[in-house]
């Protein structure tokens, strides 16, 4: 039996798992990695589409100019995704003819698990498996049985009713929202496919998103097919197939997970626990503070820069903080007391300046007020002992020759919240920054996709 070029068995030279034949258009070698299962081949040399169904390798389409598009994942390359090894056997370029943007799809094969797709659009990858079951459409207040009929008929090829796409679909306890619908036209095929495909074929695509997953419905006159995809990071694709480069990421994909979402999720419990501990700590410390009044006096100053001495009085206990509180009957006036807390028998003294001002009036039909008749300040690290006060009073009243009235009190071991607020703020900077990042990502994505 001399070699007969037209005998299919003679043409096929098994190469490991690969069978080959000559392209009926250009004579180039076409490799088949899933012989017996593939229905269509696209010649990688000239772009012609070849029918594989009857071993005669009939030419279905020839391209006017030999077309060659180089796939990012090489033919025959294998990689493991979710525990299954996949081999790249088919490559297709599809385009939205209305909007002009194109994307690539890679057909992956595994003899035991069938087929999967990897689609890449503007650098965003989706790993897709088709589904045998389908999602249910979530309607409004439509009666359930009517809704069932509508949803069944919505998928009737040719469309008895064409109510438009459902906005939300439910599948396996998750809800997916319609994010895009567009026509998809095949522009280029290379490698092999398990269905009959032609350049120019168009289907209507509906994408439903529940990050990072996407359900896609593809509809044409002969029927509809649902598939489920998940967003795959360029990094994951690169390492799966050991690629030198992947296309750069442009803009945002609807199902792309927010990269800050997980970071926020991770830090939220830590942050909230820290804040809770801070609050509990502050409550305990505040509870532990004695708030002991060690000095209280009311007095009147009559002269400008009047110098007064008060005390001696005891500040019991060990070293603690001390709060000096001033109440002055200022009415549209200011006052200030410059003073020092002096420890008897030592050089130790704590200087302070405490003031109060209060103004009020009725202007333009409105009551207004500013300031307060009370103020306080805290002095830290005051040891126990006998103390006296040196006070100098200043006030607008004294300048005018009037008298100024004061009430001064001193408390030891008071609770202070400034530390608490400082820590609160400090601990919140990073989490709030992450939250801002997360919000900005979503805002950018929303404006990009609209």
């Amino acid at each position: 039996m001399a070699g007969n070029k037209n005998d299919p068995e003679q043409q096929q030279v098994p190469l490991g798992g690969v069978k080959t034949f000559e392209c009926p258009n250009c004579g180039g070698t076409v490799e088949l990695r899933a012989p017996g299962q593939s229905m269509t081949a696209g010649c990688i040399h000239c772009g012609s589409v070849i029918d594989l169904s009857d071993q005669n390798f009939q030419l279905v389409q020839t391209m006017e100019k030999a077309q060659k598009v180089k796939p990012i994942i090489p033919f025959g390359k294998r990689g493991e995704i979710d525990g299954i090894t996949w081999e790249m056997i088919g490559f297709m370029v599809r385009k939205n003819p209305q909007a002009g943007w194109a994307w690539q799809e890679y057909l992956l094969f595994n003899p035991w698990h069938g087929y999967a797709f990897l689609a890449v659009s503007d650098g965003h990858w989706t790993f897709i498996r088709s589904m045998m079951d389908r999602p249910t459409e979530v309607g409004g207040k439509v009666n359930a049985s009517v809704q069932n009929i509508l949803s069944e008929l919505a998928d009737v090829p040719g469309g008895l009713i064409n109510p438009g796409a459902a906005r939300i679909v439910k599948y396996q306890k998750s809800s997916y929202t319609l994010s895009d619908k567009y026509p998809a036209r095949v522009r280029y095929v290379a490698g092999e496919f398990f269905w009959r495909v032609k350049v120019g074929e168009t289907v209507r695509v509906f994408d439903y998103v529940d990050q990072p997953n996407m359900l896609t419905l593809e509809k044409d006159e002969s029927g509809s097919v649902w598939s489920k995809g998940r967003y795959m990071s360029p990094k994951e694709v690169k390492s799966t197939f050991d690629l030198k480069r992947v296309p750069p990421v442009k803009g945002y994909a609807a199902h792309q997970p927010n990269p800050h979402k997980q970071k926020v999720k991770d830090i939220l419990p830590v942050w909230l626990i820290f804040l809770a501990a801070l609050i509990v700590g502050q409550i305990i410390f505040a509870g532990m503070s004695r708030d002991e009044v060690v000095f209280k006096d009311s007095f009147v100053a009559t002269q400008k820069d009047q110098l007064m001495t008060k005390g001696p009085f005891d500040i019991p206990g060990g070293t603690s903080n001390v709060e000096i509180g001033l109440t002055a009957t200022v009415d549209n006036q200011w006052t200030e007391i410059e003073g020092s807390l002096n420890r008897e028998g030592t050089d130790q003294h704590f200087g302070f300046l405490i003031g109060a001002e209060y103004y009020h009036g009725y202007t333009g039909g409105e009551n207004w007020s500013e300031g307060s008749q009370h103020s306080s300040l805290v002095v830290n690290g005051v040891p126990g002992g006998k103390y006296f006060l040196n006070l100098t009073a200043h006030s607008g009243y004294l300048e005018k020759g009037e008298s100024a009235q004061y009430r001064l009190s001193i408390k030891r071991d008071v609770s202070v919240s400034s530390n608490f607020w400082l820590l609160f703020l400090f601990a919140s900077i990073y989490p709030i920054w992450l939250i801002v990042q997360r919000i900005r990502f979503e805002a950018n994505r929303t404006s990009y996709l609209s």
Binding site: G17, G36, P111, W112, G114, M132, V156, L160, F194
Partner: protein, 219 residues
């Protein structure tokens, strides 16, 4: 498969040993001379010759074993069906208790189904339209696919006489309960099947075919 059902013969064409494993099988292909053989009661008749089924990437072979719902089965025969947009195989599965099922193998989807009495007359192929509903044993089914199919190839033994090139129809039903149904309009009439899809690993297959190029990989 009940071992008592097994019958050994000699090929009426070339004399080589030829076995029928199931009482129900009436057709097979002699693995030696490729003659197609029909069994009439106890007599065998050679009716033609089958071209060698081209090797493909199916992980199954005649003799592959598996289990479904606790019962073991082995694959005794196969038909390959082709339609406008692809092809798939139906494997004739003989169970240890003598029952028979069909294992559908299509693009990595595996469904075990059984011939079932639909409880009503099976409509003619032209009348079975997408969208039609029927209820069977409490489950509501709706036709969601109807396609013309060609009987392309066969292997092993079958419970009907295979006609290469026969053009029939396959009508698929889906339900809301995970069950699927099918009407296959074939050379010997139409049958109604009910089945379910399971992932490959759930069948615990043994004696799988070694797939060329994938010898180092596991399912």
């Amino acid at each position: 498969m009940n071992p008592q059902d097994q019958q050994d013969y000699q090929c009426p064409s070339c004399g080589a040993p030829l076995t029928f494993y199931s009482k129900m099988s009436i057709y097979t292909t002699c693995t030696f001379c490729k003659s197609t053989v029909v069994r009439h009661d106890m007599d065998l008749e050679a009716i033609g010759k089958e071209a060698f089924l081209l090797e493909d990437m199916s992980p199954f072979q005649i003799g592959t074993e598996g289990s479904y719902k606790g019962k073991t089965f082995f694959l005794a025969g196969r038909i390959k069906l082709i339609w406008k947009s692809g092809n798939w195989s139906e494997w004739y599965a003989l169970f240890e208790d003598g029952t028979e099922g069909w294992l559908s193998e299509a693009q990595g989807f595996y469904m075990m189904s059984f011939i079932t009495d639909p409880g009503r007359e099976i409509p003619a192929a032209e009348r079975a339209k997408v969208g039609m509903k029927m209820t069977h044993e409490g489950t509501q089914y709706i036709i969601d696919d109807r396609r013309k199919v060609t009987y392309q190839d066969s292997e092993g033994e079958l419970p009907f006489v295979f006609k290469k090139g026969y053009e029939g129809y396959s009508v698929d039903f889906r339900s809301t309960t995970g069950k699927f149904a099918n009407i296959l309009y074939g050379p010997d009439g139409s049958e109604f099947y009910v089945g379910e899809y399971l992932p490959f690993n759930k069948f615990n297959f043994k004696n799988l075919k070694t797939v060329r190029g994938w010898e180092q990989e596991r399912p």
